[in-house]
Symmetry: D2
Subunit: 363 residues, 4 copies
């Protein structure tokens, strides 16, 4: 009876994917979030996704994620409510959510290193509740949301929350890919494939994709790789050196996070080349300074800042990047446990990225 009199504004619970310690997640009822700071916005999620980092959380690799946390840092939605100090957004606006929360005021924000914002950073689905839910609270909404036109296809842009800016910033831009370069991307997972998509904005003449999985290598070829190398026989370095007439590659992008893949990058980099690390590493790697000290190379690391999201939105809108082709599987929010399974068994199910739709709350 009380239910009948409830309108949209009175809904107080919502569905959300909640973390409960290693390998334990569940779709549960949680209180709908509320404005806390005057700079907050509440967004009704329409589409979210699952990131490789979410799988790391499940494995217990990310100690900042507490029991009870709603996971997820990717999402498209509709503004439900804004704090009194939000200047750029209004109820009803369609928005893309950046994985990075940034205050726009601290020393790191002023340098564009939003990932290390003194008042933010990667918080969503980590130290505060995330996007795998019907609603989310976005702190510093003016700096964490991007306006979309009402007719934007959610799937065309949802990977601009994390996947595409990660690959562009940590891989393509840090690697300084430029026209005419020969580049190698080690790892053809969703991030490596996104590097492949974003690198093409700068017209390298050769893109060599290296992976253990032939299916993903074929996807890479269809996405624009000019050469594919299956590294399972341990001869990837040999083959890349042959392809480059022993000069090596101008840019090597590590998109896995292992010692073995970082080693490939070290072994194929040309004089004056750039190694851009994108992968999340759990252990130290050996750096061959005994040979590289004199090679005039540059090695970079980076946590995605999300600073390129506006540019990526233009690239999607102008047709330069088709991010949607990375989405291989689609689910309802109510099926999110199945989505996690499909994403977790990527090799078997040929999963790239999943789109998770929240249709239950459409009014």
């Amino acid at each position: 009876m009380t239910k009948n009199t409830e309108n949209e504004n009175n809904i107080t619970t919502m569905k959300a994917l909640v973390f409960h310690g290693m390998n334990s997640i569940a779709l549960e009822d949680k209180p709908k979030p509320k404005i806390i700071q005057t700079t907050d916005a509440i967004v009704r999620i329409t589409t979210t996704s699952i990131c490789g980092t979410d799988l790391h959380i499940l494995k217990g690799d990310v100690p900042t994620v507490a029991d009870g946390r709603i996971l997820g840092h990717e999402g498209v939605g509709i503004i439900e409510e804004t704090g009194t100090d939000v200047l750029g957004f209004h109820k009803g606006d369609k928005v893309l959510i950046s994985l990075i929360t940034s205050c726009g005021r601290c020393i790191f924000c002023k340098k564009g290193i939003y990932s290390h914002c003194s008042n933010g950073g990667w918080l969503l689905g980590n130290s505060i509740d995330g996007t795998q839910a019907e609603y989310i609270r976005i702190p510093f909404a003016d700096n964490g949301l991007y306006l979309l036109s009402p007719d934007t296809d959610d799937e065309a842009v949802v990977l601009l929350s994390c996947n595409l800016p990660t690959s562009l910033e940590c891989g393509t831009l840090n690697g300084q890919v430029k026209p005419g370069d020969i580049i190698a991307i080690v790892g053809a997972g969703p991030v490596g494939l996104s590097v492949l998509l974003t690198a093409q904005l700068y017209s390298p003449s050769e893109i060599i994709m290296i992976d253990l999985d032939n299916n993903r290598l074929e996807v890479a070829r269809s996405f624009g790789a000019t050469q594919i190398v299956n590294s399972s026989d341990g001869k990837a370095v040999e083959r890349v050196m042959a392809l480059t007439k022993d000069a090596g590659v101008d840019v090597a992008i590590e998109a896995v996070g292992l010692s073995a893949t970082f080693d490939i990058c070290q072994s194929i980099i040309s004089i004056g080349g750039h190694i851009a690390n994108v992968g999340v590493h759990g252990k130290p790697v050996e750096l061959h300074l005994e040979s590289l000290w004199s090679s005039n190379i540059t090695i970079t690391t980076r946590l995605v800042d999300g600073s390129t999201t506006p540019m990526l939105l233009k690239m999607v809108q102008s047709g330069h990047i088709d991010a949607k082709r990375l989405i291989s599987h689609r689910f309802e929010l109510s099926e999110i446990m199945k989505a996690y399974k499909a994403f977790g068994n990527a090799a078997e199910e040929h999963t790239l990225k999943v789109a998770i739709k929240n249709t239950s709350t459409i009014v």
Copy 2:
């Protein structure tokens, strides 16, 4: 009698410091070099020096140096003769010799990576005869010499052959030192001290010098270091972090070439910082990507290209850099064996760099 009829052009032998395998060098008579290519010049050396790399050669670490090679890659002198295709120099010109030979035509020269010139690179005192002699043949003379005014003090510029450009290019420039930066230099030897001199061209607000030798640290202080840290107690990292209020340094410059000193750099680098490797490494180092993957850092390596020598000459001439203060000991060419001893026992003799004068051939 024959001697009386000899004029300058008929001298056919000269004194030179010759390498004869591990730990074996001697001052010997060698044939005076002649023009081979039309782009060559013959230079009469007036001042040369000894580089840390020469000591590595003595230890047998540089296999490209054959028995019988004249060592040395630093020098000031007077043009004795030029090939028919040398455009910019004439007999009698006072010149600085660059350690790097570059053709000015190959793909690397066009990128400014002269150190990896397809037709040159570091040849002098390595794969061809060097500067620790009365005369030297300089290939591609137009690209390997710099004109000096006749009244230039040899000692003011002789370290611009190698030491200063090495420190500037591999350290200061690769580290992207800029006004307001806090920088740390690990290693207060001649190269580290040169980093200290060249870094000041870009006005860092703090320069922390780290070394094991208190004497060199005091020299560093007198050269402009704002903080000195003796790392012999293993607490250098701790102290640098305290000095920087746990933020770490904007730029860490490795000027030693050991795992331990590279480790210091990794441990003190700030978010968004630059590690510039200058040291020559003999072994791999451990790179802590398990923490650095998300630190937005840049690591660079480089073999000196000598591309900054023209700028450094202006800096010496305008008084911005006093390179001469690095010269602690002076010798005649006839005393070069004593010079090697002084340079080899740097800690005991408080040697920084040596100047070796060739006065015997002044006509």
Copy 3:
């Protein structure tokens, strides 16, 4: 009687320099400002100054300044009160006020072009009340104030509100001054002299100062100019070309705002050189593309963004810049009309910059 019961917080009026149309200003009682937005702060001014732009306002050249406006955009003070959304400042903090108001959220702020902030820009003493008063309201306080240590000398930093960042950003940085450059600065007023101070952070080998006023040229020499040229005889170009052996200068910085001074820059710029315009121009200039089209030059314009203020604070603190030496005259706020007179008659009174102290409100 009511007066006796008033404490600091109850003061409701203050002294302020108010604009009343062309050539009409007066020191008047005005209401003390109050917090309007949650991101505002109220600052009690301890030191302010007068800018050349204030004289333009007096002449009626700046139509955005309305009758009744409190002038001034330079200042040091103490935080009196903060809005609830101010994160980085608290009552009692000593602060430097940036001339630029920036929201930290808009497309321009994300590019670092704070001067064109969609919600800010140059507002103080222009479209909102300024610093020539006992108190001021600072919008977006987190982005418009810089924390100072309590013992900071006001005069050492007050010119970092406007003068120093203007000269550094529009002149030195836009001109890309680098070690070894020959640079010319046209105009030895407070801004040109500040270019002279900030350019030295990048170690140019020659700094040629050009002006009509011998007194200011002598000041320039004492500030580090290596050559001074009085242009009153119309032969400045001739002399600069002689000084540069007809090569011209690497960087020419226009710090006046007239066609004649821009012409000097065009005439002395070298192949590949940079012309950085700092001056405020009232009329078009003639650009000699008939000769410059093939000269590989770069011309820049800029409204100061204030983005370099943190770096400049470090440069003052580390002793690299002594901004205080630009202050030639000192006044109390009660004497501000005299200060305007001294600043307006700069040539006669040998005025560079004035410091105006507000001591009346010290509690």
Copy 4:
């Protein structure tokens, strides 16, 4: 009889297009060129073209071109002979000729400003004989030629002598075109269309082409322009501002060389934007500093250096640029007078670029 015994090496005359003062050119017999310097090469031309600059020469606008000069600075050919100091080329090599002669040794070459080489620059078809002939002597051959594979299609690369590097260096690179930019190109002639081709290497989201000629605008559309604007009604600025919602364009590229077209660029440039001048100007232009002084803009000029030719060759080979589509008309060298006519009446004959084949000397 002697003729019968002549073989290829004995040919001593050749056909060449010779300039004889204003509006006077003729195809004549000239002596076949010979090696003069040891760094020279003789190239047998297989394909050449005509540049807009050649038309300027005909009008008498280029005083450095003397009576009797063979014109032309674009060409593909086969090495016939090399001087003893040429390192990188051999008889029989297929080569692309750069319009720029550079010594690789002078201060400008070391900065990459080959166009102002102290021993070179634009000499071919200007102060020495050019490419519109059967043979040409190329000074500093190692720096003025690029190796082509024997099966290279001449027409695919001949415009990389001048047209493509001009548009890339002076337009696209100087304008700093980047992904997501809105750019405008003023002038849809061969150079403007080449800017259009090269700009796409950097993925701008919008390319607005402005011209008076509807035919060329349609060509522009087929080459990738996203918007075309016919400026003949004087409303180009209005239309561009409407297309950009009054923000203006990020990059405006002037590819005509007139005051009116430079004015369009000034009027449509956004805050922080770049104006890249490519056009050859005969008169000064008015620069609106009274409004632009505060717009944070950059204006650049440049004479093509040819430094990007290696990159452009890769872009042609990898299919990123189809330079051949700029060739609208084809002629034999014997028909070169007709080729000049077609190129001179471009609007009427819908000429873009012409290819002129030298088939007479194939052996």
